[in-house]
Symmetry: C2
Subunit: 443 residues, 2 copies
């Protein structure tokens, strides 16, 4: 009962692996394969068939509620009325592009850039995080004259042709570009070190040297500042700083990929990079940015994009349209009004505490870590050897799903429970989750 499939995806549905799929869902899965082809994947041994969402709950056709402890797009909760209203209102008024003057994109860019340290003051809007990272790469190449990219060993940054070449987590069938070098993820649990930041910086130095030895000039290092696909790596705060300095000395740029940690999820601040005391050249945004509206983008230091923008025009037909800006603005409003950064911090702290207490009685938990409402739990065969137990992690994920509690798994060994609920998650929701986890563990 492994969580790995042939394409290397953790927690993917494997056809034929479960006999407990209802007839109706089985028919839908076949229809999906016929209509959408083979590149689409479902979650879980028994895929979940959803029809409705509200707050932290998703519902199937029989009205059963699933507790959503995984989705980071509907970060304010499913169907948040403020977003639904803002989007519906703007759709009825105007939805056009950025080659006409319109106030929405300016008001939104002003509001968004105000959440960043001052030098990060310009905003370019795309529709997806992949497009944002792709644009960051175009700008970095133009700015540096280089092509080289450094990422962590299991990084995920998106699915365009260029970005998939620096997203090793897509698996061996998606080869890395010849201009890409990976560095080991800064993993405090598995790495024997007394200075993670120095070790990580040394790895980056070595990667830069290797790149240069191949005649490749470095353009950028890009990091998800919570290292989600590498297994959720948050500590110690500041460990990124030395590596970023090394990258800058080499004439390359540092891009913070905030698609996953951004918009308050870590509970420390609005942006994950702030935990590390660093100032990125560019920051990419996505997923929770519109609570479901396809909106993403870059926030940049002006000098980084000055020459690129003077010579190269950028137009993204739907990017920055008034509806997307209305959704983005509503999300910023709700985060402020409902104190969601504080909620992520407090509920996250409570969640970590409950998980650590649980770990005292459940030997398979090797590590509980994370920050705010981005949590990873290492499942191991043995705490001393730290041998990963992907089979047990997969079992837990699927057993929770059968109890209608949705999480997933990640990490290089597919053994890390990925816990990442909407940031409106409450202590009561944590209690419900822990009851389910304890029930599953007792089985």
């Amino acid at each position: 009962m492994s969580t790995l499939t042939s394409a290397g995806m953790v927690n993917a549905y494997v056809p034929g692996a479960s006999s407990r799929i209802p007839e109706e869902d089985r028919a839908m899965i076949e229809r999906r394969a016929a209509l959408l082809g083979p590149a689409y994947r479902l979650f879980y041994e028994e895929p979940v068939h959803l029809v409705r969402g509200e707050g932290v709950h998703l519902y199937d056709g029989d009205g059963n509620a699933y507790l959503d402890v995984y989705n980071n797009v509907a970060s304010l909760g499913h169907g948040h009325p403020a977003v639904v209203e803002a989007v519906s209102r703007q759709w009825a008024v105007l939805n056009t592009h950025t080659r006409y003057l319109h106030d929405a994109i300016l008001a939104y860019a002003e509001r968004l850039s105000a959440t960043f340290p001052a030098p990060l003051s310009q905003v370019m809007l795309t529709c997806t995080g992949s497009e944002a990272n792709d644009l960051a790469y175009r700008i970095a190449k133009h700015r540096t004259g280089g092509t080289g990219v450094i990422v962590t060993s299991l990084a995920y940054h998106g699915v365009t042709d260029a970005v998939s070449q620096f997203s090793p987590s897509l698996g061996a069938s998606v080869p890395l570009g010849a201009h890409v070098r990976t560095v080991p993820a800064p993993d405090l649990y598995r790495r024997n070190t007394d200075d993670l930041g120095r070790d990580f910086a040394d790895d980056v130095r070595a990667a830069l040297a290797d790149m240069r030895a191949s005649g490749i000039r470095p353009a950028m290092m890009i990091c998800d500042t919570i290292f989600s696909s590498d297994g959720v790596l948050a500590d110690p705060p500041g460990f990124l700083a030395e590596a970023v300095a090394v990258v800058r000395e080499a004439g390359a740029l540092f891009v913070a990929d905030e698609v996953q940690p951004g918009f308050g999820r870590t509970g420390d601040a609005m942006w994950g990079f702030e935990r590390h005391g660093i100032l990125p050249d560019m920051v990419s945004l996505g997923k929770p940015m519109g609570n479901g509206q396809p909106v993403a983008g870059l926030v940049l230091q002006p000098d980084v994009v000055a020459d690129f923008g003077a010579k190269v025009r950028y137009f993204n037909t739907y990017g920055g349209n008034p509806v997307s800006c209305a959704a983005g603005m509503a999300v910023l409003d709700v985060i402020a009004r409902e104190n969601l950064i504080q909620n992520a911090r407090n509920t996250g702290a409570y969640f970590l505490e409950r998980l650590r207490t649980f770990a005292e009685c459940y030997a398979a938990v090797g590590d509980v870590r994370g920050r705010g409402l981005f949590i990873g739990v290492e499942i191991v065969r043995d705490r001393a050897s730290k041998e990963p137990d992907a089979a047990l992690a997969g079992h837990l994920v699927n057993a929770l799903r059968r109890r209608r509690v949705l999480i997933s798994a990640s990490g290089p060994h597919a053994n890390i429970l990925k816990i990442r609920p909407p940031i409106v998650f409450s202590r009561e929701n944590v209690d419900t989750f822990m009851d389910a986890l304890e029930g599953v563990a007792a089985e």
Copy 2:
């Protein structure tokens, strides 16, 4: 008063070129530059500041109506109630991703693929046309083992790093990839030929030979089937067929980029490629697909994606979400219910007739061409020499804008009026446009 700016964009606003911009708009333009940086461009010598849209009209803050003879995203008209209602309803119910079972994407994929010839039966959804063409390229490389791309000399296919490398219309500052070859656009007006299809196929043969001489294996040819940025090239029907056969013989794929001609605009059929009696390996879709919702995608022949999909997973977080599928479904409904393909054909035929009559008395019109509601008008200094007159084209575009009629220009010499209204455009709307054009011409 040229329509060309430094970045090669036709009809771009050039700061300082007009003294007639209202103070409020001038302040907005400065705010835009500060907030969005230098890569964004506006249309017109005097940019248009919009606040509302309805049907074929856009409105500024003073309530002035602009006749929209240009926008192909809000193809059913701005704020079409069927789309607004479908999107608003689905937003309130559920907006999640494709790793759960949900009926909307299946119902939509079924409905969409039914509009294609049978072998084009699988659907992959993205958020933008750029992403769709980028994915097509990834699939073509995987399928053929090649990397080479053939495009027309002023093609535009999108803005990702990979796609911008085969989008020569982005200008010299965005260099083409070393694996890209361009062929002259199949231009019946400027090319002295009695067999355009044969000539175009010969050019493609030469490009393939040149590619092979450089050790590059061909992966695909991609064409916008109405050759919009090349200057709107529709005739004679069928001219693409021989070139497509040549591409297939070389082991490469043919991708029809229907982002601009698709969804009934040409009035012949739902898809532009049908005019040429060809069957593409993949078809990319975008702009009008959701009437403003960021939805795009590929329709494919299953064998083309079979091995790619078995080995490579494709997940686009917002792609194919229930709201995007609801918008897409509403668009297909409205096209059928309001007979919009027929309207594009009939109104388009009337539009061409009015323009040809106009040309009889206005010597600067060198050619009137197009199909359905996709029309190009060549502005020349002299009909015999066909010398392009970009300055006059620019003057006409800007003079029409001052009369609150919105079109743009395109083509290699920036001298072709691009006329591309929402496909709900009526004969009365054509009359209004012609009155404005005749008034401008008389000035």
